[in-house]
């Protein structure tokens, strides 16, 4: 029993943090907001060079062959930097899905993803929208019968749905399902879709941790500098306490995300419940972080010009993607009230292996 990330994992996290600190700035995020796709193929290629899109790609397909424990640490950094690239859609969700589908799909697309030459988006019944469909070379989509299809973008009808976050590009997608597009059906498709949902939700939870940490940092920095009544507003207890409350939420969401990553990586029996606990707690921390950081900034935080809202919008986006809070709360509630889950002292680490 050792509930810690190891040194190599933390080293990898620091490398990505340093890269993103230099390459992704509020200015560069805003520049992308003004573009048609909101995405930068050059940045995506750079991310591929440090191994991000191919993190979960098996080594035989030219990837890093790592797992969800590493993935959550890197997506936390993506959240901290307010990175808009399709890391969750492609790296966290599509890659393991393609690897499980195997065959020609995996052989063709996994090496391209690892090389930063392809984006793959994934749809799921939990949401009517598909994130990053507008830039995807390949779409993995469910049909009305629960089967899973692989469709290239030119064969799909993609309608952009502008959202509250200019970094979150979502669309409704229509396509003609046929024998030739079908990649999986029946139990296999249900299993793959369930795994995709858990991976997407886990990634959002990880991103929300980074966003929340950044929001607290921005608010604490501002409150330490801004003076009213002759002193920094951060010296007032009302301001201190609301920021401390968010810090408590963040630090108790963190171990839930850490454990959920372990459960997804090891396909634990309570994987879905662990993921939902993590998504719920991390997104609540991030959305309350957004509110509190705005309040600490006051009117200046309410402007488009101030960068605070880059992270506020990321918090709201992570909350919406891959199952909103009521969905995840419902999954945990059902497991508790049907008695499906062993509970009480001594049960926390049962069935993790």
């Amino acid at each position: 029993m050792d509930f810690r990330f190891d040194e190599d994992q933390e080293l990898l996290q620091n490398t990505v943090r340093e890269f993103l600190q230099t390459e992704v700035t509020p200015g560069s995020v805003r520049t992308l907001w003004e573009t048609e796709t909101g995405r930068s193929p050059e940045l995506w290629k750079q991310l591929a060079e440090i191994g991000l899109p191919g993190l979960l790609v098996p080594e035989q397909h030219d990837g890093m062959g790592m797992g969800e424990e590493e993935m959550v640490l890197l997506i936390e950094e993506a959240g901290r930097a307010a990175l808009a690239e399709p890391v969750i859609a492609t790296a966290a969700v599509a890659v393991p899905l393609l690897a499980e589908l195997g065959g020609a799909l995996a052989n063709e697309w996994l090496p391209k993803i690892a090389a930063g030459e392809a984006v793959v988006a994934v749809g799921h019944p939990v949401s009517p929208f598909v994130e990053d469909a507008h830039v995807a070379d390949l779409l993995l989509l469910p049909d009305g019968t629960g089967a899973l299809h692989a469709v290239t973008r030119d064969a799909a009808d993609v309608t952009a749905q502008p959202s509250n976050d200019p970094s979150r590009r979502i669309a409704t997608v229509e396509f003609d399902a046929s024998e030739s597009t079908r990649a999986a059906h029946g139990d296999e498709a249900s299993r793959l879709l369930a795994a995709a949902l858990d991976r997407g939700a886990l990634a959002c939870a990880a991103g929300a941790l980074g966003v929340c940490d950044r929001l607290i940092g921005l608010a604490a920095e501002y409150a330490g500098e801004r003076k009213q009544f002759g002193k920094p507003i951060g010296s007032f207890q009302a301001v201190k306490h609301m920021l401390a409350n968010v810090k408590v939420k963040l630090e108790y969401a963190r171990p839930l995300v850490q454990r959920a990553a372990h459960s997804v990586a090891n396909d634990a029996s309570a994987r879905d419940v662990h993921v939902s606990m993590a998504k719920l707690a991390a997104c609540e921390a991030a959305t309350s972080g957004a509110k509190v950081a705005l309040q600490a900034h006051g009117a200046i935080g309410y402007t488009w010009e101030q960068d605070l809202h880059l992270w506020m919008r990321r918090a709201w986006s992570f909350d919406h993607a891959w199952g909103r809070s009521p969905f995840h709360l419902g999954r945990v509630r059902e497991a508790l009230f049907t008695g499906a889950l062993p509970i009480g002292p001594g049960t926390t680490f049962r069935g993790d292996a």
Binding site: R4, G339, P345
Partner: protein, 385 residues
């Protein structure tokens, strides 16, 4: 990350479970804040000690089992799973004990720890004074040196377990010229010395859970000073860290309450609002989060890490979770939520009401949650004082 228990850890759990199954009293003991209950709890502690389970993470020479912190968490899980009695000597074993381990001389360790582990000597805490509550640096009780003794004068209050304890620990001002945090010394005081008056105080639940303690020219040998003279504040901060963090409130306690709450909600599922089920679910998630966080901390400590200001995060989290769980239970019990267990119409109200009254003290003791929030803001987030 390795989330499996080793063979040895599994054996440790099985041993603890077996011993507890055979030894935990079948009927609940009376509250240790009564004379009879205190006697029953001392007997239980003696039994626990004879079985070698009183203080599992301590070295064997001090009455412990020589286990590590992870095994201690396993023991705590089994202890709460078995519904074993509360620990009457928690001020000693969980707060002062670890502090003596860190600051005590070899003689002090040998003198105090074994009798603490066996609860032959039960400890009260003497933190607060009438004018030193949240503002603990305002301590006014004095201990001036006279030869090889300190002479103590002044008053402590809200001394938990003071009514039935044998010893008290606390800070006293040893330098008359000193102010605030400086010039304080951490002293261990036998409560049967001449000049000491203990006046029990009834708590919100009607029992004498704490006491006022008056010192009138009380002579205490200097070897009962813990840590350096005038450096009591840093010793006390270590004790407070244990109080706010994982020693005093191990996660199993809250997992046991969360489990009872879920079971209560399941039983009354047809009569409760959907929002109550949601809140119960959130509480259970929070209890798991606290458990996971504690395992994260213990993993770090086993790899030579340290605990700092983050103990304040713990204290806020467990105290507010405990209160929320009890509030919800009373809400589920509805009209019967105000009944004492002995009321004819009480049904399954159990101990929720007493638990609620106790949980209300959580955000107050060990440093109010407002003080904890200040610590988080200033020491972790770097906000100005």
């Amino acid at each position: 990350m390795d989330l499996d228990y080793s063979k040895d850890q599994q054996t440790f759990r099985a041993d603890a479970r077996e011993w507890l199954q055979q030894n935990v009293p079948a009927t609940a003991l009376e509250s240790f804040d009564t004379a009879e209950g205190a006697k029953q709890h001392r007997e239980w502690e003696a039994r626990l000690n004879a079985g070698g389970w009183a203080m599992v993470p301590w070295p064997v020479e001090y009455g412990g089992r020589g286990a590590n912190l992870l095994e201690w968490l396993i023991f705590e899980e089994e202890y709460y799973r078995a519904g074993a009695p509360k620990r009457i000597n928690q001020n000693g074993i969980f707060l002062l004990g670890p502090t003596i381990m860190e600051y005590g001389t070899p003689e002090q360790k040998a003198r105090f720890l074994p009798k603490m582990a066996s609860s032959e000597e039960v400890w009260a805490q003497g933190w607060s004074e009438p004018n030193a509550g949240s503002d603990m640096a305002n301590i006014q009780a004095t201990a001036f040196r006279d030869g090889d003794h300190f002479v103590l004068n002044g008053q402590k209050t809200w001394a938990s377990r003071g009514a039935f304890a044998d010893w008290l620990f606390g800070m006293f001002r040893t330098d008359p010229e000193s102010e605030r945090h400086r010039g304080l010394t951490f002293i261990l005081v036998p409560l049967d010395l001449p000049g000491i008056t203990v006046r029990p105080i009834e708590q919100l639940d009607g029992l004498a859970g704490f006491a006022e303690v008056f010192f009138d020219d009380v002579r205490v040998p200097v070897e009962h000073q813990l840590g350096e003279q005038g450096k009591g504040w840093s010793v006390a901060m270590a004790t407070a860290g244990f109080e706010r963090g994982l020693m005093l409130r191990s996660p199993a306690r809250f997992q046991a309450t969360a489990k009872r709450l879920v079971e209560l909600a399941r039983l009354h599922v047809d009569s409760i609002e959907p929002s109550v089920r949601d809140e119960v679910t959130r509480c259970w998630i929070a209890a798991e989060a606290y458990t996971l966080d504690t395992h994260r901390t213990v993993s770090r400590l086993l790899a030579d890490g340290k605990i700092g200001a983050e103990a304040s995060l713990n204290k806020i989290f467990w105290s507010e979770l405990d209160l929320r769980m009890h509030e919800l239970a009373l809400e589920i019990l509805g009209d019967r939520g105000e009944l004492r267990p002995e009321a004819p119409a009480a049904g399954d109200v159990g101990s929720w009401l007493d638990g609620y009254l106790f949980a209300l003290s959580g955000p107050i003791y060990a440093g109010t949650n407002e003080i904890q929030r200040n610590i988080i803001a200033e020491r972790i987030l770097g906000l100005p004082r």
